[in-house]
Symmetry: C2
Subunit: 250 residues, 2 copies
């Protein structure tokens, strides 16, 4: 059959893992997935991910690339791999794509969702997948601040120090805040779509927006922070648990 | 101040615990809660629960009774206890009630919710709080079968053998099936409210209803099962993970 290039859409609860990237002796998404792939496809199987999600970050639509020469039909792959994964990981879809596809470079946009719970009582069933910030959040103010992040801008102030990339310009297509729902039940979602993200960028954005939400800063502060090109100008890093990579578009 | 009787409303993710009831050497809800209470209130603190939820079963509204002679104000208790609990447990509310209140005997009704996911891909973020049954479920049929359970009836066929109570008559006030939601997204909820439940009764009801949902049985089969007064007449036991005790009314 020759070698096929397969694009995997991967979902995982990241709360029990040390992030995407394989690390000796630690449970990671890439490590556990590679083990499952080797059981199914042989010892040389490896997977290249589109995003290196941090420890504690979850995904519903991470993308990974594998090359296989196994005769197993593409339409059976998602289930066959999932059957070898722990319950907190699953392959959503497996599709064949042309050889030479660049799983990192060809990304057009990614959507991250950050979940905050503002109710008074810790939400025990979702506690690993949200940031619990009891008390009133000014979601209109957050929304106004968020709108100032949209566009092609230099996001250096929102990149954690470990990011050594020179080019800190990225395009945010949208930064939407959804609050309350029909029942005004305390859940707040911040959806950030962009063509790429610097290290910790979404979590630094969320931490900054919550400083607007709690009244410490005015929404216009966002412009000042962007201009500063300095991490210390922005707000705190939001916890990893609230973050989920929803999808990646090519 | 004298002794006060305090009713606690307790929420927990049961997936990492061996059920409510204290057991030496095993993590249980009552055990962890008792430890937190003793840290706050002294070595004699103990809690009596309204429902002995099984291993893996969660709760948003379990009720526990404690007696305290500490000067700590009642309105501070919920937070003070929660601060000593792990993230997957919380005290929702603490209220003072008259001495002599019978936390088990005074129950008027309880609501359990059972969650099923019928989509093709394992829901990684909710996998510990649902039963994943990929494929089509006839929710209209389940609903019809569920309606035949409502009323004051002998539920002996739905009690697991370990239940040795002689009186197997209980009243089910409602058994409602909610499917799909706005997005027809694969989630099915079975809400069962009753004045009391036999051992494993909700899970045996759900396992039986899914046999209607997958077409093996007709809805009318429920009447035949009730008449049999025999556990082997009913369907399989549904997994504990999908079950959650929503509230208890007095």
């Amino acid at each position: 059959m020759g070698i096929r290039n397969i694009k995997l859409t991967i979902a995982y609860d990241g709360s029990e893992y040390h992030g995407w990237q394989i690390q000796p002796g630690l449970p990671t998404i890439q490590g556990v997935l590679t083990e499952a792939l080797r059981g199914l496809l042989g010892d040389r199987a490896r997977v290249c991910g589109a995003s290196r999600t941090d420890a504690g970050v979850s995904a519903l639509g991470q993308v990974g690339l594998i090359q296989i020469d196994s005769p197993i039909p593409t339409e059976n792959l998602a289930k066959a791999i999932t059957d070898r994964l722990p319950p907190d990981m699953a392959i959503v879809e497996a599709t064949e794509i042309p050889l030479g596809f660049d799983v990192i470079g060809a990304v057009k946009s990614k959507l991250y969702r950050y979940t905050i719970f503002t109710g008074p009582v810790r939400p025990v069933l979702q506690v690993k997948h949200c940031w619990h910030l009891p008390g009133k959040l000014d979601t209109a103010g957050i929304s106004e601040g968020a709108s100032l992040l949209v566009g092609k801008k230099d996001f250096k102030s929102f990149a954690s120090g470990a990011d050594t990339r020179e080019d800190t310009v990225r395009t945010i297509f949208r930064c939407d805040v959804t609050a309350g729902g029909e029942a005004e039940d305390g859940w707040v979602y911040i959806d950030v779509e962009g063509d790429g993200f610097l290290y910790n960028m979404v979590r630094n954005i969320v931490g900054t927006l919550t400083e607007i939400g709690n009244g410490r800063w005015k929404p216009e502060k966002i412009e000042e922070i962007l201009e500063a090109r300095d991490r210390t100008a922005a707000g705190p890093l939001a916890p990893a648990n609230g973050l989920c990579l929803i999808w990646i578009k090519y």
